[in-house]
């Protein structure tokens, strides 16, 4: 049994397979496959794993290789066209050669990759995302939000090394109007497949503190125009579209808008432009405020001026009316006064005339009265004179009779008077002290004076006693009062 069997070495088998395969597969073939892993080695060679899935199940799997030189060329071409680096887990159209190596076994040697197919795939993904968003009514959701009057508080999704971030900050932080923004950075990867998850996670965090923010801004830039197909990812786009705050994007994509940019509240081509947009929003707030201040100032000034003018004209009118009224009254007064004057004159004239008439009448009456009185007086005087003459005649008779009797009366009077005088002479003679002394009486004198009740006498005083024939000096021995 052993003689009949033919034994091959492993190398012979391998070589045989290689020969067979080389004969059978002499050309290169376009193969559509999903590149599950790229496996780029430090040597520069890649050993990707290729798959085909049906209903999520792997139905074919093969190893592949890309030599360093091929990889460099393929990748450059790919990025140039697709604006994406070669990505794992994407379906690619590969130009392959089926190779078998004695030691490495069977593999597909990739000599080229069609970038246009990849591009088409991306477009398809983009289209699918758009359709799905539309179907789920998410397309305009973010754009329907009310934009804050002042987008002041900004949740920034970016990378702190991003040039886009610094461009954006420069615009909003150094504006010449002194507008103040508040920014809080939520660090995220901004390109490539990792960006999808990274941005989604940060959106979730922002939603947690959304009360602190007015808008979300995603800015990117300076990293080259590759790796942006992540912004076509349905899940990321859904997260943006349904975010409760307006999401603004400035991710710097000049050619083909990504879905994220399309559904964002607003998209700017560059972070700088996005910054300018926010500044513009501030202007739209600031300008009416400034205008308000101007309008109010002008209006108030006008209003006050008008009020002032109307007051002035009212005062003027009042003055005029008053002056007019005073004039009218004055005229009236002047007229009245002249009429009073003429009336007074007339009255005075009349009175004068009446006085003059009265005067004349008085004069005449007086004259008459005077004449009457004169006559009366004259007659009275005549009567009086006659009476007096009569009286005088009567009196004269009486006087004559008295005169006739007078000498007899006088003679009797003289006789009576002489008798009385003779009696008086007799009395006086009897009263003379000498006559008294002759009849035996004496007079005592003290210090030349007769004694009276108040003459003070004491025993020893010397008294002079006059008699009709002597003067006796004696001394008082005793005094007996009666």
């Amino acid at each position: 049994m052993s003689e009949s069997r033919q034994i091959f070495t492993l190398k012979q088998v391998a070589s045989s397979i290689r020969k067979t395969l080389e004969e059978r597969y002499q050309q290169t073939y376009w193969v559509k496959a999903e590149m599950h892993k790229l496996n780029l080695y430090p040597s520069g060679h890649c050993f990707p794993e290729l798959l085909q899935k049906e209903d999520g199940k792997i139905v074919a799997q093969m190893n592949a290789s890309i030599w360093k030189q091929n990889y460099q060329r393929i990748n450059k071409n790919f990025v140039d066209v697709v604006k994406e680096p070669l990505r794992e887990d994407t379906t690619l159209l590969l130009l392959v050669k089926i190779v078998f190596h004695e030691t490495f076994g069977l593999s597909l040697q990739i000599v080229d990759i069609d970038p246009n197919y990849a591009l088409g795939e991306l477009q398809r993904e983009r289209q699918e995302t758009l359709l799905r968003l539309q179907k789920e009514n998410l397309l305009n959701l973010n754009q329907k939000l009310d934009f804050p009057l002042l987008p002041k508080r900004i949740a920034l999704i970016s990378a702190d090394t991003s040039k886009g971030l610094s461009d954006f900050r420069k615009v909003i932080e150094t504006n010449q109007w002194g507008y103040q923004f508040f920014t809080f950075l939520f660090q995220a990867y901004l390109q490539g497949d990792v960006a999808v998850k990274s941005i989604q996670e940060q959106l979730k965090r922002i939603e947690k503190v959304k009360e602190h923010f007015d808008v979300v801004v995603i800015v990117r830039g300076g990293g080259g125009e590759v790796g942006l197909s992540c912004y076509n990812n349905f899940e990321l786009c859904k997260a943006i579209a349904s975010f409760p705050l307006p999401v603004l994007t400035g991710i710097g994509h000049s050619t083909n808008l990504t879905v994220a940019e399309m559904i964002a509240y607003r998209n700017a081509i560059t972070p700088t432009e996005l910054g300018d947009f926010l500044i513009q929003s501030f202007h739209e707030f600031a300008v009416p405020v400034k205008d308000a201040s101007k309008t109010i100032r002008n209006y108030s000034k006008n209003k006050l001026e008008n009020a002032n003018q109307s007051l002035t004209s009212t005062v003027k009118l009042f003055k005029n009316v008053t002056a007019q009224r005073i004039d009218q009254t004055k005229n009236l007064l002047v007229r009245s006064s002249s009429s009073v004057k003429s009336n007074v004159k007339f009255v005075i004239h009349k009175e004068k005339e009446s006085i003059s008439v009265s005067q004349k009448s008085i004069k005449k009456n007086a004259k008459d009265l005077f004449l009457l009185q004169k006559n009366q007086i004259t007659s009275l005087v005549d009567t009086a004179r006659k009476n007096i003459q009569f009286e005088l005649k009567a009196e004269n008779g009486e006087v004559q009779r008295i005169i006739d009797r007078l000498p007899k009366v006088v003679e009797n009077l003289i006789h009576d008077t002489n008798n009385k005088i003779k009696q008086l002479e007799q009395s006086v003679k009897l009263m003379d002290p000498i006559q008294v002394l002759k009849r035996g009486y004496s007079i005592s004198l003290f210090e030349g004076k007769t004694l009276k009740e108040d003459t003070k006498l004491k025993p020893g005083d010397r008294l002079v006693t006059k008699t009709h024939f002597s003067e006796i000096e004696s001394e008082i021995v005793d005094i007996k009062n009666k």
């Binding site: 804050p148 009057l149 002042l150 002041k152 508080r153 109007w177 002194g178 507008y179 103040q180 923004f181 508040f182 809080f184 965090r205 947690k208 503190v209 602190h212 501030f282 707030f285 600031a286 009416p288 405020v289 205008d291 308000a292 201040s293 309008t295 109010i296 209006y299 108030s300 209003k303 006050l304 009020a307």
Partner: protein
């Protein structure tokens, strides 16, 4: 101003005052009150443009909750 007024309300109230004033619906008596109010509102609005009061620490604390 005693009450804390939201800048959106301040802005709207200011616009209303301006409209009223432009339409001449304010008497001289009311004018000084309105002008005073407008000045306050303008101040609130201007302050909003040039200041921030957001507290980073509070945000960080809220993020951790």
């Amino acid at each position: 101003m005693a009450e804390e007024i939201n800048y959106t309300e301040a802005f709207q109230e200011l616009q209303t005052i301006v409209a009223d004033i432009e339409e001449g619906e304010i008497s001289v008596d009311e004018l000084s009150i309105k002008v005073k109010r407008a000045a306050e509102l303008i101040k609130v609005c201007k302050n909003k443009l040039t200041s921030t009061e957001e507290d980073v620490n509070q945000i960080l604390k809220d993020l951790e909750d």
